[in-house]
Structure formats: structure tokens, C-alpha cells
Amino acid sequence: MPGDVPPPESEVVAIGREIAAALPSPARHPGKAIDARAMDFTSRDAELRAALFRFVDVVPACRSVDDLAAHLTGFLGEVDAQTPPIKAAMRMGDSRAGRAALGTAAAAGVKHMARRFIVADSPAGARGTLQRLWRDGTAASVDLLGEATITSAEADGYAARCAEALDALTEIYRGSPPRPLLERDGAGPLPRANLSVKVSALTPLLRPDAPALGQEDAAPRLRALLRTARELDAHLHVDMESFDSREAITDLVLDLLAEDEFRDGPSAGMVLQAYLRDGGELLDRVLAFSAEHERASPLTIRLVKGAYWDHELVEARQHGWEPPVWEHKAESDRNFEALTLRLLAARPAVRVAIASHNLRSVAHAIAAADADVEFQVLRGLGDDLGHALAHLGHRVRVYCPVGDLVAGMAYLVRRLLENTSNESFLAEQARGAALDDLLAAP
């Protein structure tokens, strides 16, 4: 049983090299190489990148191909560096026929990109993908995309979709072949069906200055989902979102799981964000909870860096607050490693899922973990890493967004932003940074 002592650097580097060697070579995946280059290209010109993001974001609200083209040229018109491709697009915007062609092509491009990140428009539609992943030795957690919840009807609708998804996932996995690595760990059996839910979609009342309002309003819906998950023997994972909702989400999850009826199930989890300066204090609280409330299946903690970094920084700066997040990537990376060690040391009171696309962070966790740790990657962004880890015999779960492309566009934009932001690990990787640099201690 490892304590929270850092693993030897040499071991981290050796494991990192091993994973890197297992990553598919770009030469064998020409399509992906092009995608990677395209992202690299857009990330160099901040204005063009902004224009394309704004376009991707507005696609669902456009009413015709003509409207699409008008928006695209509207955004491109604001880019200072009018390169030949942009000029050509702007010229197409001058005629009806040109707009039709441009709008059609742009819509197809966005859809193509969206399909890389969004598995299907419904859980049932994801059947093929999920079964294929399972057969290949990879588990999944499904996330239902949708519009923001601002009414009770929308919260009810989301909760109903979640309940249906639990049914559908149970059914999808029913006939699947056994995969012992994915179905049991040191703490006991692991459910096949795994759904991630967002509290912001379960209530219209999440208010930063009154977390109790959102907590009370979401509780009945989440309680019903926990019951469904328990009946179906599925895992329910509550995602963490921006810092504004952290208190509400944490209180909601821990209060519900403390209720007697959930002592014996379902398997459930929450998220720890390493980019938060006080992430360690939240872990203290979660570990105290786990010590106090013995559960048939221990709480799963998914450790992430956090996906709202820009939002947190901008919001804090606008209000004159100390940002709740670390301002330098290396600080988050160091915190990630520290929290990894603490989480691993806390097993089996908790289950640990390491969710990072950073080769160094993953290698560090493997070096520290011996076994009994899960790795999670995002569909469309972490596929290669997931394959490599599965190939090396690790338990891998792919976070799979499901929903129609229209409603999923906000998700897509956030993922794209993450992928092309300057400090992103994937961006560095795409630019061909040296492996030694990528594996260096943060």
C-alpha cells in the first residue's frame, strides 16, 4: 500500500516513455494528423481562432445556409490578417450562390468536428460506439448534453433523460462480453453502466450567493436518479462545474449520500478539481465524509485539472477577487500530483479515477499507484491516450458526450478552447514538443 510519497522521477519518466511509445503514430492516422495540424494553425492566430469559435457557437442559432454564411463572413470580417483563404470566403459572401456554397461547407465542417467529440444524439444511438469500446477493453461514462437549465420544466426534462439513459445503458451493456478489468477492482464490483450528471442541469436555482436554494431544488431530482441507479446497479457520477456552484454541488452530493437509503448503493462519485487553490481542503472534507459514512461501494473521486480555468480567471478579475484557481499551469500540475498521492493513499475508503490528458500527470499516477486506479479520457481529445493506456493493461473509461449537435455546441466550443489554449498539453504535443520536456516534473 503506497503512502503519499512521490514516486521516483526515473520511474515516472520510464512509464511516460512507455505510454508515448504506445500512442498511435500520426503516419498511420492521416485524418488525425490533419486535425492536429488544423488546430495548430488556428491556435497561432488568436483573432482567427476567436472568429471560428464564435462561428461554431452560433451555428445552432442560424436559420439557413445563407444565415450561416452571413455569420461566418461577419466574424471573419473582424480578423485583421485577411489571408487569401479568408478573402476568398469573404468574396463568396457577396453573392447568394456563394453564400449557399460557403454556408453548406461551413455547416458540414462544424458537424464533422462535432462528431469527433459527440458520440451520438441519444444514448440508444451510442449503442454501437459504447459496445465497440467495451469489446476493445474500455469502459465509458455518458454525459448528456443540452441547453442550459433555466426553468423547472427543463430540469425535469434533463432528469427524465438521465433516467432514460440509465435504462438504455443498462440494456446496452446487458449482453456485452465479460471484461474483468472493467468490472471489478480491489473495493468490489464496478457497474458497467456509468452516467455523469450535471447539477446545473438538474435545477434552475443554482445561485452562487445562495447555494442552499439550488441544493434544495436539485435534491429530489438527484435522489430519484440515485434510486434508479441503485435499482439498475449503475454508477452515477456528479460532475463539478464552475466555482460558483461548488458549494451547492458538494453539499448536495455529500448530504444525499449520507442518507440511510443510499448506504448500500448505488456506486456514486464526484469530482475534485486540481486547479482550485483549496482543492486540498475539499479533499479533506470528502475523506472525512468517507471515514464517517461507510458505504457498500466507496465514493469514486475523479481527479481533473478543471475545465473552467479561463472563466474563473476572467470572473475573478472582473470582480477584483483573488482567483480561486492557480494562475500558472505548473501550479495546477503540481497540485494534481499532490492530490493524486493523497487520493491513492486514501484507498480503499475511496475509489480513484485519474482524468487527465497530460502524459506526465498520468505517468506519475501510474508510478505511484501500483494497481486499482482508473484512468479517464475525453472522447475526441484523449482517444489515443486511452487506447495506449488500455493497451498497457490499465482500466480506462472514456467520457462520452451524447446529445444533438445543436445543443452540444457549447460543450464543443469549450473542448476546442481547451485544446487550442496556449498552455494546453495537447497543443504542445501537437506542436511536437520534446518528450523529455513533456515528462519533466512541473
Binding site: C62, F75, G77, R207, D209, A210
Partner: protein, 524 residues
Amino acid sequence: MTALPAFRNEPLLELRRAPERARLDDALRALDTRLPLRVPIWIGDERRDGDALRSTDPGTPDRVVATAPIATADDAHAAVAAAQAAFPAWAATPAADRAATLVRGAAWMRERRAELAALCVRECAKPWAEADADVAEAIDFLEYYARGALVLADAPPGLVQVPGERNTLRYAPRGVCAVIAPWNFPLAIPAGMTAAALATGNSVVLKPAEQAPGCGRMVVEALRAGGVPPAALALLPGEGETGAALAAHPGVATIAFTGSGAVGLELLRTAAAKPPQAGVLTRVVAEMGGKNCVLVDADADLDDAVPAIVHSAFAYAGQKCSAAARVLVHEAVADALLERLAGAVAVLPVGQAEAHGTVTGPVVEEAAQARVARYAQLASDTGTIAARRDPPTSPGWFAGPTVATDLPSESPVLSEEIFGPLLAVERVCDLDEACDRVDALPFALTGGLFARNPRTIAQVASRSPVGNLYVNRGITGAMVGRQPFGGNRLSGTGTKAGGPDYLLQFVEPRVMTENTMRHGLVVG
């Protein structure tokens, strides 16, 4: 004195953290034990208490928050006379010293953030986040105008110079400034108008809103604690007649007013009607009402637009000058918007201002409750009620948030300022039509636009007459220095509170030209 650091907005309290909320709750409990506050007529060092005027908690009207005497015309005369006597010395005080008093006044407020916010909650039923923003804005005004006055004094605009003459421009204070303040920003607005006048060397008589004398007293206390000579800043609690007597006084050189259009127009008439013997053309700085419209184009993201509209229309029960009163929505998304708006209003936190999370508290007084009810009835009689919240069963002056639609174009609900939680939604076939409707209004204070095509945004911006246009965000919450605030047309005299040119309203420019040529030699 050393130069002031660059202006920076006072950070809002981080109410998403539980300890901050607990601190406010404690402050409110502490305040409650001290009620009612006594607010004097306060001229120089003379204080006279009284209880002819009482401000009460709009959420619990039998709770008296502050008591004050009602200043008479004689009191107004005495206050102006004292301010006139104090004026020369204050005007002669170096700008840097005046600025320092404002900065110290800001520090006094900063030390009492929670206490002042609690008073806003009690006296005006501002929900915590709004109350805190009020205090922060008051601090901002003091800090911002302190710096602005230094710039006016130390670096006035340069003039054309030719050999043999020296031309200089400087700004001198105008004299006594009457500040007539509203209750809806009971600290920030009186603090802002008063600080602008004081920073530039004027003496001030402050008449706080009759609904908020307690907050008015705090503004005077802060500035006097900062070092403003007592004679240069008088407090004159009272009702409308007190303000009228003050404004009509021949010794008042400037009237700084924020409030209703009717009173603003009356003040402009009063100022113009002063006899020539008064020897002054009284300047009026007036911020008045609005009928603020939010335009929603077909490409708007309703996930953003709906919450922003709800907050703009219903936060603080719609009682901000900047609040949204009308939504003009493209017909392609009108049904979706209305459905989601109605659903969002159905879960809007309505309740006592002191409950964390409350968005819509009670309106300020019984008359306001009756006024909102009257317009809501009119909307119901002539249009469709898309959403309506029953107000809490409580003795407070609650008005249920309401969304009306299908109103006839000539409906008063679409043209008159209601100043309460009633929002009208209209369908338009495109944004040109929406702009036409906005243009037909006599008001031009704030406006909003939800649209994503940059060309649309540019077109609407070029046509919009409003003083403050907000794009893809809520239309309230202007920040000092970031969104200089004020309206055009009947919404105000076109001045921008919290902006770089606001202080020019409180000064008169004086130019000196000196001949520097003597016997063919330039000697200057």
C-alpha cells in the same frame, strides 16, 4: 501628498463564500439592535433630531429604520447660508487636500462595508448582492472623483500659445450645490453627486430621499469623518417640499438630482425661474427615468439572454433606473423566449431582501405597490399575462414579478416608466422594427441587445439613442469608470456619472490671458 494610485473598482464581496455571507448576517443582526437610527438636520456642528419623518423596512413596514425631522424652508435657508459661508475656504483648499478627504471618506466606508450594506437591506429592501454593490459603488465614486478633480486642477486642457502672451485655463468651483438624491441607490448616488461637488471645491447641502434618510446620514458621516469641514456639507432630511425649497434658493448654483422625470423637469423650471437678482444661472444635472428595451435577434443564445433579461427586469424588483422594462424579440425566437422567460420567472427567488439569493424583494413603499398593481391590471385587461408570480404572503410591499405580452402598441405599459417588476414582451419581424420602436420613445437611458452577427451589433449600436447600450449581457450594474452612466432625451441631461467628464458639470472654466511682452521683450 503623494500621488494617488490608479483608480480600481472596489471589489464586491465574494458572496459565493459562506463566511462572507455569515459576516453580513451578523452585521444585520447588530444593526437591528440599534434601530431606529436618528437622522438629524445637520448644519455645521448644529444637529437637530426629530421624528416627523420615518423610514421603514419595506419588507416589514412596522419596523422603523430611521427617524428624522422634516427640514423646512427656513432650515433650507440656514443650510444654504452656512454652505455659502463655508464655500470660499473649501474652494481655496488645495485640490489634493480635498481629494485626500474623499479618499479618507472612502476608507471610512470600506471599514463599514457590512454595516452599510445591512442598512441598505433594511431601509430600502435591497437584496444583499445589490446592497453590497451599492456600498462598493459609493466607495468607487469617492475614489474616482478624488482622482478626477486632481486631473482638472493639475492638468487642465492646454490652449494655443503665441509669443508674447500666456493663456491659461483653470476650473473653479461654482458655489453651493444642492444634492437631491433618490432612494434606489441610497448610498451610491448621494455619495457620487456629493463627492463630485466637494472634490471640485463646491460646498454641498444634501437632501436624501425621504425613504432613505438613514443612508443619507451615512454619506455625510463618511465624508465628514474623512475631513470635509462640517460647514461645507449639510444634511437636510425631508420630503419633496424640502427639496423644492432647497432648489429654489437663490444661493444654490448647481442642482444635482437623480429621480423621477416629473421632479427633474420641475427642477429645471425652478432653476430657470430664479430672478436675475440671484446672480446665477443655476445649472441642473438631472438623471431621470427610462423605459429600457432589450432587443433579442433570431441568432441570440437564449441560454444567456433569458437569465440576463430576468435579472435586468426583476433584480431589486425592477427599481433601478437601468432596469429592463420591454423586450423586443425577433418573431423567429419569440415563442421559445416567452416560454423560457415564463419558466424562469416561475422559479425566481421572491422574498425578503435579507434572505440570501432573493432577487425580487418588496418594492419601496405602499404607493409603489399600488402603482405596479395598476399597470399589471392594465396589462392583464389589454394583453396577455405570460407569467406572474404571486407575491409572498407577508406584510411587506411585495409586487409579484409579471411578464405581459400581446399589448396594444399605444398601451401605457409600453411607454410609461413603471419602476417595478413588470416586463412587457413584444414581437418584431426584424431588428429594424425594434430600433424604430426604441427610437419612438421619449426616453433613452439604457438598452440591451442580444445578437451575434457583428454587422447587426454595429447597425443597432449606430441607431441606438440610449446613454448606455449593453450587448449580450444584462443592462444593469454600471460600474464607475467602466460604464459611465446616464441617459439622453427625457432620461437626463446627458451627463455621465462615474465618467471622465462628469466633474465638468460642477465647475466653471476661467481663462486668463497675460501679456508677456514688455518694451519689445518677451518677459514671461
